[in-house]
Symmetry: C2
Subunit: 711 residues, 2 copies
């Protein structure tokens, strides 16, 4: 399997240079296919559209076709009685599938497909139903409005994934995420060809699955917020219909406060224990020295491995601070008796025992970086939050691995920064072909300290589409501008699936403002982003916890401001070409709006507690809008602004760069450029230089690691 | 029951004069309570908010409280682990209920409540759980953002409904509406205290309920788009949790093509029959002369009356054109033998037979105007689409009735026009007190020729909130300006329930334009409305049917343009006060935007088939924007524009008044006023005069009747 995959990747790379040259902006596919060639003409998509299945048939294929037609109707606005499944091969789209799929979807099953669209019809063929699913999603992305109506362009596509494991992890422990929200996110995953839903089901803040063997786990560990086993089966079936595997994670031996609320005897200290409400790394950890622990885990893992059919079972293993172990004389005596020199040895012992249990129940163990110890069998898989180097280290030791470092969507990074994260970079770039095969792919990770059902979609989408492209498309597909050109359309298409990443924004603003006219607030919030990495914790506010409302401006604004990016690009264009009316006009409109929004916003500020903390941001934006307009004035006249003006404005810039209310005013750097140009200063070069692929400034890498260092 | 109700209504009217004087814009309640008095201070609503139940307890009450807390969390953004149910009476909100409710909710059950909110807590008391439900909705509407956080103002409210039957009918026959869409609309109903969901379940275009006795009805009559009996029970339970009765309608003997697709032997002509795809009144009708018909109906009605627990059973009875009866010699012979002089006699005979069957199964028959014949027992209820006069006629004959005339939300009327529809006007104003009691209330009716799951919410909401106020609040509550002041906030609150009347607009525009930036399109569509009444049928387009996509601009724009109403009010203010910079500035901004939008929209037009037919509207709006700006220029200078200019502009106005693409450019009358003022002409008086309460121009009444006259 892995060998075939590699061959495919190589093939893709060969075809790519052709494909890339032919890319047109109207082909807003994400992920980009391995190989495609645009033809002439287009296939009209109207109510008479029909689809026929030839070749192998199975229920899963028919389900995929029904889902496809439903989505096609939804994104074109056709009624349910249109767009039929045809009996004969004489249909608008003919699907031919060579063979069925496994009863339980496996890592590395063939997902390739070939899609040919011409003016009079289309053909989709694939070795398996999985390939058909991927090809149908490509077809949906090709359909767009034209002067003749909805249509898909004539095109030949040959496609297959670069990596076989392309996941999205959702942490439902810190905040419970209801089943319907997960389902719409599975729809989003399928749309961008992600194929593993990693369900992070237990945390200090909540144990989220019904256990029939240990019912106190969900009864006492979840605040009543858990999935029944029926819910779990329902979600797994839903995922299967979309070609997505479901890998459960039960994090142990740390992150287990919620377990101990139910079964304190599992812990390494007497307790008492309750569900944790705050965020961070906590002391409670399972006692690895008691045989009762492994009896419990055998029964528990036995129950959960029956419930979750996937081959892989994730045991977490991260962030054990060892304090309970250090303080427990019985545990210390055990370590001494077994010649363990530190807590790492003790955790390794625990992992060996757990691995045997997982293996006994027929599953393959998966865990975070920490579980990697050469004494564990080579079947286990390492999920790396430390980066490509630790992935390479694992591969060299003979372990398979996944990359999650660089794909943490809770850190509020730009799509660009995720997109530039390359699993095969750093030490991984120098792996032997044999070792390279051990890099299975990666996962976008949605840690849920600051997400609710209302804003989680906006934290996952559309940025995870860029991650999906990194994991599906050939390594050479890495043009950031092309990605940003395609992203808005992809984002819009995701809305037809019921995702709320765009639609939840305005209602949240209206709630904050307490009024339905939020245009002045939106002028501000459109250019705000939440602070990055883990700095939200550092900025004084009410102590954050799972009981804190997520209804503030920082919860409503998007991780990445499209307006700021566009503004910055316009500033760069203006400074490159010199002031011209057509390049200046949009800048002037933006800057005026920013200058003036504050006066409009003022009456709202008095009426809303939730708006009060953005008042300084509003004032800064207004002042910077005025400063930018003044800078344009000097640029227009070819004059240099007086030094005193520049000094004053740059002081303002420095002030405005500071986070306020856990928010960043992200147009500051571009306005700074304007001001410096207006004052005839040279521009500081670093701000315009894009980060090289997969290299991130050390300050940010440090920030990323802090999750794992116990803040 | 009816006596108690009348006493309440009288009481309300007495209190009202006090309440009205004290109304403040911040109290955005809809419907307005019968009596209220604002106090000092407010009750803060934060995560520590709690609720206690004292007095009578029942599962339905506890369910209502849980729903309330869920909605309160949602509209304030609080997490699910906050806002608890408290055990003691020491809670933020104490609910005291005197008695439980009937197992099946009955017409006229007591819905009154008393709500007292102070700075340190609130009390809600009611004779029944139904009253508690209504009071909790009032509480939710009182919560708003303040400078101190979310809060409800100190207030004393005594409230009870004017009419006991306040309904919303949804036609799921012409377009199938999925269960989840109905559920969110039930949430909306509960929010504005509507209490009857009238489920119009069968039509020429579809039979929508699973029948176990006659399975071919749903198998052959629904295109697979029907509710299972489990779905029906689910919806009824959902409605009951919200204090809403569910009245099913099976329309007969006409509107039955879908029945005949399954059982052609029921028809009055041999067939063959299929599901009807077009709109209108069709010939097929049940044969009322065959005894087998009544055997079938007995079995069918027996099944459906078991499924639907409500006391009332709606048999439709509207729009039988009689053509099949005229053409069938056997039926003619039957009529002759029984001394029937026309088809009305034959339908009356049918209704008598059906009434006996409905009565035998323990239910009360309800039907449209047509069923009213003095030979039917006085227990039946008439639903009037003909207006208050026919309601009065029924009441005088001893029949109870409901008003739906004036409440057809598919006709795209303004909220104002629905709001001015008064059940007790016309001949009904002169009924004796005894007769008045027979007017039970009314129903908003959502006929579904042009609605899909995507746009149905925007056809129902927020206008149905104004209808709900007409039916709940005292007759004297009829200030249109106050209604329009409160409507935007009510509309916004409805969004927290999952309704999509606002959020579906932008995605539909983006689909039409085929791009994510639709600001220029929105400048146009914000001031467009669909044509009114039944004129959509008259304007040439592709032949409309249930297979026509509802994805055009006319399907996306809202029934009533808020922007146009605001613009018109601003024009009136300017013309009343004379030109001043502060009144002119917003007008100038609007007019400039309209003038300029066309240039921006132009590139999109070429790329979208669905935009092509709005090109003339865009051109007209652009020209009128320029004309309006010119008029302002003359007004500013105190000059009269030249006659030639006025003539030219008014020709443009006449042109722009004509519907295009089934759309109306609704800013034309206000711009015409500006132009005439700029040219020194007297304004035509009629356009500024509001319609008197419940009087509608005959041309529109005629339009309304056309549904019933066989277009």
């Amino acid at each position: 399997m892995v060998r075939t995959l590699l061959a495919t990747v190589v093939l893709c790379a060969i075809f790519l240079s052709r494909g890339e040259a032919e890319v047109q902006p109207s082909l807003s596919l994400m992920p980009m296919p391995a190989k495609f060639q645009l033809g002439n003409g287009q296939l009209l998509i109207d109510p008479s559209f029909s689809l026929a299945i030839t070749g192998h048939r199975e229920a899963r294929l028919e389900g995929a076709v029904r889902l496809f037609l439903g989505q096609l109707r939804r994104q074109t606005g056709m009624p349910p009685i249109d767009m039929k499944i045809a009996d004969s091969g004489n249909a608008s789209l003919v699907v031919r599938c060579a063979a069925g799929t496994k009863d339980v979807q496996e890592l590395g099953e063939d997902e390739s497909y070939r899609l040919e669209i011409g003016g009079s019809g289309a053909h989709l063929s694939a070795p398996t139903t999985l390939g058909v699913m991927r090809g149908l999603q490509t077809f949906l992305q090709l359909v767009h409005m034209t002067g003749e109506g909805f249509a898909a362009p004539a095109v030949n596509i040959e496609d297959s994934p670069r990596f076989p494991w392309r996941g999205l992890m959702i942490d439902v422990g810190r905040h419970f995420i209801p089943l319907d929200v997960l389902k719409r996110n599975l729809d989003g995953m399928a749309a961008v060809k992600l194929n593993v839903f990693h369900w992070h089901l237990s945390e200090d803040q909540g144990f989220r699955v019904e256990s029939k063997k240990f019912p106190k786990l969900h009864e006492k560990g979840s605040d009543g917020l858990y999935y029944t086993q029926e819910d779990v089966r329902d979600l797994i079936a839903y995922a299967r219909e979309r070609g997505i595997r479901v890998v459960p994670e039960f994090d142990m031996p740390g992150h287990t406060s919620a377990w101990f609320a139910a079964y304190p005897e599992l812990a390494s200290a007497p307790g008492p224990y309750g569900i944790e409400r705050k965020w961070g790394v906590f002391d409670p950890a399972i006692d690895p020295t008691r045989e009762e622990t492994y009896k419990f885990l055998d029964k528990f893992i036995g129950e959960m491995t029956s419930l979750f059919p996937d081959q892989f079972f994730h045991v977490g293993g991260d962030e054990v601070n060892g304090k309970q172990w250090d303080a427990n004389p019985k545990i210390q005596a055990f370590m001494h008796a077994h010649g363990m020199k530190d807590n790492n040895d003790l955790q390794a012992y625990f992992n060996q025992r757990v691995q045997k249990i997982v293996s006994k129940h027929g599953k393959t163990m998966l865990g975070w970086d920490e579980i990697l110890r050469p004494d564990l069998p080579h079947t286990i898989v390492i999920q790396s939050w430390r980066g490509p180097d630790s992935l390479a280290q694992a591969a060299k030791l003979g372990y398979r691995g996944l990359l999650s470092s660089g794909f943490y969507v809770d850190l509020m990074w730009s799509a660009e920064r995720h997109y530039r994260t390359e699993p095969m970079s750093g030490a991984a770039a120098n792996l032997s072909p044999e070792e390279q095969k051990r890099v299975l792919g990666g996962e976008a990770c949605m840690w849920s300290e600051y997400v609710s059902p209302e804003n989680i979609d906006s934290r996952i989408w559309p940025r995870s589409a860029a991650i999906a492209e990194r994991l599906w498309s050939p390594q050479e597909v890495r043009d950031v501008n092309s990605m940003y050109q395609r992203l808005p359309e992809v984002s819009q298409r995701l809305e037809w699936l019921g995702l709320t990443h765009n639609s939840s924004y305005a209602p949240m603003l209206r709630r904050i403002a307490g009024t339905d006219d939020v245009s002045s607030l939106k002028a501000l919030t459109d250019v705000l982003e939440p602070v990055k990495d883990y700095t939200r914790e550092e900025i004084p506010t009410a102590p954050p916890s799972s009981a804190s409302p997520l209804n503030r401006v920082v919860d409503a604004v998007r991780p990445e401001s499209a307006a700021a990016r566009q503004f910055s690009a316009s500033v760069d264009a203006l400074l490159a070409s010199g002031p011209r009316p057509e390049t200046e006009a949009p800048l002037r409109a933006w800057l005026s709006r920013w200058r003036d929004h504050q006066a409009e916003l003022q009456p709202l500020l008095a009426k809303s507690l939730l708006l009060k903390d953005v008042a300084p941001l509003s004032q800064n934006l207004s002042a910077l809008g005025a400063a930018g307009l003044a800078a344009l004035y000097y640029l227009d006249r070819g004059e240099h602004a007086p030094d005193s003006w520049a000094t004053q404005q740059l002081a303002l810039v420095e002030q405005a760069k500071k986070p306020q209310a856990q928010l960043l005013l992200v147009v500051v750097p571009a306005i700074e450029k304007l001001i410096r140009a207006g004052a005839g200063q040279r521009l500081p070069s670093q701000s315009a230089t894009p980060l090289p692929l997969s290299e991130t400034p050390s300050i940010l890498t440090a920030g990323q690691n802090r999750r794992k260092d116990g803040w």
